[in-house]
Amino acid sequence: MTTLVSPPATGGTTGPRRRWRDGGFRHLHAGPVSLRVDSRAVVVSSVLLAVVFVGGCWSISVGEFHIPFGDVVREVTGIGGTTDSEFIVQVLRLPRVLTGVLVGAAFGISGQVFQRLSRNPLASPDIIGVTSGAAFGAVLCIVAISTVTTSVTTGALAGSILTVGLLYVLAVRNGFSSYRMVLVGIGLTTMLNAGTAYLLTRSELNDAQRAYTWLAGSLNGRSWDYVRPLTIALILLVPPTLMISRQLRVMEMGDDCAAGLGVSLTRSRALLALLAAGLAAVATAAAGPVAFVALAAPQIARRLVGERSAGIVPAALVGSAMVVIGDLVARTAFGDTELPVGIVTALVGAPYLLWLLTRANRIGRGG
């Protein structure tokens, strides 16, 4: 039986007042399990979930064949039986939207973890070269093995994994230093970017064009073949991230405090970085570098939810919302031309971020 236990707001008990309100948090107990839940985060996450669902269904309903919204909901939830549009929804459009949701969530979580770990609002999986490694791998596949499309995904994944491995080997010297990791990451990233640019000049124009399209980040043609492995990867990576992110709360009080409270700093940091890198790697392999999401989604989540808890779930949902809505806009807002989703998220996200920065600067927080 779950009982909701939160201390009453004011005293009124006899004897000395021993109650206090754990502001904004709810305590849940069920047997030996107890949870401390940020109520604001729960509310915001629920709203975001609704936004993602509505946005996703809307995205499914628009296109060459317009499908009524109600039909879409029926198809997606399975309630109310099937409709005529079953094929279009289930085979063509739903997997695309689902890919968008998963990719957005993965980028959002990855960015949030990196930003909290490094206490730097600019941190992003880019820094450790994950997206550049993926880009190099993908472009190499496109240029060298120009026909097969799933090889691009494999190439991207291989590229990012090798890059992270190389980064780890190079950055570890007398123990793990996240600052050194960032520096080595910048070095690797720049080299990889140069390599990618080089490949683009040595390829045929057709291949170069395909490569640039991939590099812009796109959900075009994403089928269930993408959704399945992506789901598995997220199932493997997200729960450990949630569990270890609990330590972030203590790590932000400073290294000494954290160590004094029993947090193994090196191990926690390395594990979290690895998980976040893994999430960014699979997301990039699936949809290309829609990496601006990793930068902006945590920032937006922070402004919605605050920083009282690790904020993993809100960041994930903001990321999903960004990608799904971005894809919707990319497909519809420009008439017949379909832009890659990565461009829309950057075109809309960057000015928003800049606006947030000027606001923060004026208020004095400076990002």
């Binding site: 305590h27 107990h29 203590v250 009080m253 400073g254 000494d256 405090c257 004094g260 193994s264 009282r308």
Partner: protein
């Protein structure tokens, strides 16, 4: 049972000592700060470490707290090498309040104190009834219960420090180390914090070790005083034995008179500088100046 003024019987046999360092060498990169130092921390007492700047007192404390690995020698907790114990286990027996801890923006006192329970919590055991009770107890003991819902940023220096001590207290450890807990506080709050530490030691027999800057407060509150200079321990023991005019001169390079504190009877160091002091002979006896104007101060000599 310990007495707040005289402390526990420190002459107990050595196996009662829970925290000790043996022949440790402590260094930052290649710069050796402490070499071949050994110390036994008396259990159940309030130990204070003092010394001039850069003598290694904070460094020593950090090594005792497992924040700094010795380049040589070992630190032992309950007879085991502290380095080999899992971090979580150490955190359940020994708590440290470092210098200048960072309070995240906008958190409440209750939230801060609650984080002290981290070593006892798990992913599925985030807030048990025990946690609630212990946190409340900790806040009561530090008189921060009435501040529980306020933001840490808006507290005064003394209140904030009490909140941090409550956090360390909530950790539920029997040994508590504090690195300069009073350094940025005004006098009132310094006394407030030290009184609190005394109560924590007296009521539960907690072993407390802190690094202090103020010599006189150190003498007043310490059961066991350790003086350090240049990375070595110069003397340790009850303040009455350790603090003399010669020892003050040796450790701090300071000319001083040592008298009995009129309030507490502990040693009180009265510094002698170059100005604002009457003429004295080497024995500290005031010498009557050739043309005294009656208020005890000689007139300045013409050759100045």
């Amino acid at each position: 049972m310990t007495d707040a003024t005289t402390g526990p019987d420190i002459d107990r046999p050595a196996h009662d000592v829970r925290l000790r360092a043996e022949h440790v060498r402590l260094a930052y990169d290649d710069r050796i700060v402490v070499d071949d130092l050994s110390i036994d921390i008396p259990t159940g007492a309030l130990t204070v470490i003092i010394g001039p700047n850069a003598c290694g007192k904070s460094t020593l404390l950090r090594s005792l707290a497992r924040l700094l690995t010795p380049k040589a020698g070992t630190v032992l907790l309950d007879g085991e090498q502290i380095r080999k114990l899992p971090t979580r286990v150490v955190a359940q027996r020994l708590g440290i309040l470092p210098q200048q801890p960072i309070a995240p923006d906008g958190i409440t006192v209750a939230d801060l104190v609650g984080r002290g329970r981290h070593p006892h919590q798990r992913f599925f055991r985030q807030w048990s009834t025990d946690d609630e009770r212990i946190v409340t107890d900790a806040m009561e003991a530090t008189r921060t219960l009435e501040l529980a819902e306020r933001s840490v940023d808006e507290l005064s220096g003394g209140q904030r420090q009490r909140a941090w001590i409550a956090m360390a207290l909530a950790q539920g450890t029997e040994i508590l180390l504090l690195d300069e807990p009073t350094t940025f506080l005004d006098l009132t709050h310094q006394v407030e914090v030290l009184d609190l530490l005394t109560e924590l030691n007296a009521e539960s027999g907690r072993t407390i070790v802190c690094v202090l800057h103020d010599l006189n407060l150190a003498c007043r509150y310490a059961h066991h005083l350790v003086t350090m200079k240049g990375g070595r321990i110069v003397a340790e023991g009850p303040p009455g034995e350790v603090i003399t005019e010669t020892s003050v001169l040796e450790v701090f390079g300071l000319d001083a008179r040592v008298i009995d504190d009129p309030v507490s009877g502990t040693p009180m160091i009265v510094p002698i500088g170059r100005h604002r002091v009457p003429a004295t002979d080497p024995h500290g006896n005031r010498v009557a100046a050739a043309s005294s104007n009656g208020n005890g101060f000689g007139e300045p000599t013409a050759s100045l």
